[in-house]
Assembly symmetry: C2
Amino acid sequence: LHSEKFLDLKAGDLMIPLERVAHVQSNNSLEHALLVLTKSGYTAVPVLDYHDRLHGLISTPLIMEAILGLERIEFEKLEKIRVEEVMNKKIPRIRPDSPLHQYLHLLVDHPFICVENESGFFEGIVTRRVVLDLLTKKSSF
Amino acid sequence: LHSEKFLDLKAGDLMIPLERVAHVQSNNSLEHALLVLTKSGYTAVPVLDYHDRLHGLISTPLIMEAILGLERIEFEKLEKIRVEEVMNKKIPRIRPDSPLHQYLHLLVDHPFICVENESGFFEGIVTRRVVLDLLTKKSSF
Ligand SMILES: Nc1ncnc2c1ncn2[C@@H]1O[C@@H]2COP(=O)(O)O[C@H]3[C@@H](O)[C@H](n4cnc5c(N)ncnc54)O[C@@H]3COP(=O)(O)O[C@H]2[C@H]1O
Ligand SMILES: Nc1ncnc2c1ncn2[C@@H]1O[C@@H]2COP(=O)(O)O[C@H]3[C@@H](O)[C@H](n4cnc5c(N)ncnc54)O[C@@H]3COP(=O)(O)O[C@H]2[C@H]1O
């Protein structure tokens, strides 16, 4: 079943590269972020700066939670709050040469993992879908 | 590695049971659905009727897409649209006795799969997390 090879696969080989990753800038408004999420159809995306450095992730749950008032969802607040005030900064990062056996456990709690190179620049994301797809092909005998 | 046993695991043994699954009713407003999603922290949940029959799933992307106007997101429409008008009705269903090797491929495209018994009643959901957790434990030698 080549299980050793499956678990040796490098993040750089499995990732969706930067140019295909929807993302927002840390200084964007939540209104802009919600539009990006709505148009891309994703529920969470990475937050970068203008130098392609990774700052965190923003999701619809985080945005909605930030504008949930006592009586209703306060949508007028969206344009007044910035992504960096609400984003999740505590996210794991892996290197392009990290083998799957080192980061598989991260996919248990995170739908995607960000790949960052040694110079600190964002390179792409490894998603649950890609790993499950490999697992499915590997287990169909 | 007991791979045969891993792939034989039944949906009923892996699922989060109904009583622990956040869900909405098909005749709820999108406003109510968005509140349920925001408070539960989930980005998508099953849609049931009062007899615990499964009708589809509702997600924040589907809700936002439904109120996205030409100029802005039209939040005032949330209370006027019902879940059943917007939900995704084309969702796979598996039986409680379905073995993992039969539905693993479904998790490639779906973050969770609904479990429905022979009488047509919703019993729970099998999530990607549960399967990835098992895979991680199985592959740590
Ligand atoms: N436009 C689309 N076309 C086909 N399938 C779609 C899709 N949008 C969502 N899905 C399906 O829904 C799953 C959950 O998407 P979600 O946006 O919540 O969660 C996504 C999203 O937060 C992020 N993600 C995936 N691709 C991305 C991209 N190109 N740019 C930015 N973020 C991405 O990684 C998470 C996990 O993605 P994963 O592929 O494992 O799992 C995806 C995929 O199986
Ligand atoms: N309150 C929480 N506590 C701990 N971790 C949390 C969490 N909320 C989300 N997560 C993490 O984020 C992943 C994606 O959640 P999401 O809500 O987009 O996507 C979820 C959601 O749409 C649905 N789901 C999971 N548990 C549910 C429940 N109890 N009721 C209703 N829907 C549920 O199944 C999808 C996949 O769930 P999965 O567990 O594989 O993957 C979850 C889990 O790893």
